[in-house]
Symmetry: C2
Subunit: 319 residues, 2 copies
């Protein structure tokens, strides 16, 4: 079997029942999410918390946090846990060193690192692009890719640090990161633009948003000028915060698209891995510049599918 | 006399003595600076404080702050005060509405707004670029321009919000703002890059800085990718904070230069208005991309000269 076939086989719904087979854990810098999964991928229980890496020590340490949530889900001590995200970073729970590009997605499971605790617990590695320049890293998104199991695709995973990933023949060939979400957050909350843009959601259908996407894509070099222009609009014209917020978001997303176009070429058919408002926003942005997403897949479904696939690859095929 | 001739006449050293003729005040969002100036422009005394706009109310209000510093400088109650900067903004001490482009620099003095306090006190207006798009504003830099009194020039005033200004025949024809300094500060202190870049000064001669300036200028659309790349360099190679900090600064300055080139054309001869390390950094950046500054003028000298010129224009020529 090729790698892609192996992953696809691992993702096939199991024939047998709905008893719990896995604690699937997405453990990030600021958030903890965990699902109790059945063999067929069904969700038997779910827990969310704010015990991310930053607060894990204060919350009693990694094992105690996991076991607290496991107990709440009635997950017995023999049930395996698979963990992705920053918990596998240096300074996290247990370091799972980055795999280098090009990387077969199935090797993520094989490189999982066992954590020395009572419960059989495995942390998945991230991916790294090494070399002379444009080094880059991901932790968490690779598990979404494993769950997505694309053959050939350009995948956009928007977020705090948006990832654009070129997958060729089931292997991650290249990727790039744009700090779009973090810049948006810093500018909204901490910069001179805070009173200008207010808070609240951006409407993906707002022409201020889509117009600004086009500006950011066409002239990414003018984005820092245009950002301050939002303040000028507010001072001179009393522009409403929701309009300026839509423009701020659009300018940053447009600049991200410009970077992705330059790196990967204009996307013929992007797969968008995102949920909720973020999915709507990126779908609208991609459509507004004439490159609509070919497929939109919910991010959490990909995480769960990726952790389940990893468990099946490492611990045995579907029952 | 033309406007430029009037300003130049107003900037001529006075023949008579060294007695105090002006309290020159640069009152920004976070800083207060004030000089007691002689008729010939000589500095008889100087005060600096952190009673910027944000903390003015807590510090007893604008008049009390000014009078406290005036008393420390032994400046009698009849001595006029000229104020530039955010104190003239809406929500500041007394609003001095923006003058529109194109703006004769001398009209800044004529549009000064008298503050209704015992001391003869005037607040200088800022400048605004209105119109359908690329609206922009400045407050403070226009007074530096008045002090600089350029005939025809492209002027770069780097800082928290860097300004690039095209002056034609003594009139401000156009300008643009880049949030370079604020972005650098946010990314260094508040972002995921904080541990990556550490703190400390950037060496203008560091090839990491000048190399990154070139990258930002050549590919401004790749800057948000390259920012996250600093984190990857740190994670994968343990790149030293001072190197990453130099690259962060260089990328942002390079993107600023790219925006200025696009807007104003490649600068044939930029006048750089800046002091200290910031002047050294921008001088190195401009030189590294083959467009060295034609002239470097200390920013505070320009502020003082501008406030003195405004006082002379409004209250009478040099004695």
């Amino acid at each position: 079997m090729t790698t892609t076939e192996r992953i696809r086989a691992a993702r096939e719904p199991a024939r047998s029942g709905t008893s719990a087979c896995l604690l699937a854990v997405d453990w990030g810098t600021t958030r903890f999410r965990c699902w109790l999964l059945a063999r067929d991928g069904g969700i038997l229980g779910e827990r969310r918390g704010d015990e991310g890496l930053r607060s894990a020590a204060a919350a009693g340490g990694f094992e105690a946090i996991l076991e607290r949530h496991a107990a709440a889900l009635d997950a017995g001590p023999a049930l395996p846990a698979f963990v992705c995200g920053m918990a596998g970073a240096r300074g996290g729970w247990r370091e799972a060193p980055y795999l280098d590009l090009p990387a077969e997605l199935a090797t993520l499971a094989e490189a999982a690192v066992r954590v020395p605790v009572a419960r059989p617990t495995f942390v998945l590695p991230g991916l790294a692009r090494r070399g002379a320049e444009r080094r880059d890293v991901m932790r968490g998104e690779e598990t979404q890719l494993l769950g997505l199991a694309p053959g050939d695709a350009l995948v956009c995973l928007p977020g705090t640090h948006s990832k654009w990933v070129r997958v060729v023949g089931g292997r991650v060939a290249d990727f790039a990161t744009s700090m779009t979400g973090e810049l948006f957050d810093l500018l909204c909350r901490r910069s001179v633009l805070a009173p200008v843009v207010g808070d609240g959601a951006v409407d993906p259908a707002d022409p201020d948003f889509t117009g600004a996407v086009g500006e950011g894509l066409a002239e990414p070099g003018s984005v820092t000028d245009r950002l301050f222009g939002l303040r000028a609009d507010w001072l001179l014209d009393g522009t409403a915060p929701e309009r300026s917020r839509a423009r701020l978001s659009g300018l940053l997303v447009g600049a991200e698209l410009a970077g992705a176009h330059r790196r990967f070429g204009p996307p013929e058919a992007t797969t968008l891995v995102a949920s909720g408002p973020l999915a709507d926003l990126y779908a609208a942005a991609l459509a507004s510049v004439g490159t609509p997403a070919a497929r939109i897949v919910p991010a959490e479904a990909c995480v769960r599918a990726g952790l389940l696939a990893a468990a099946r690859i490492l611990l045995g095929g579907p029952a």
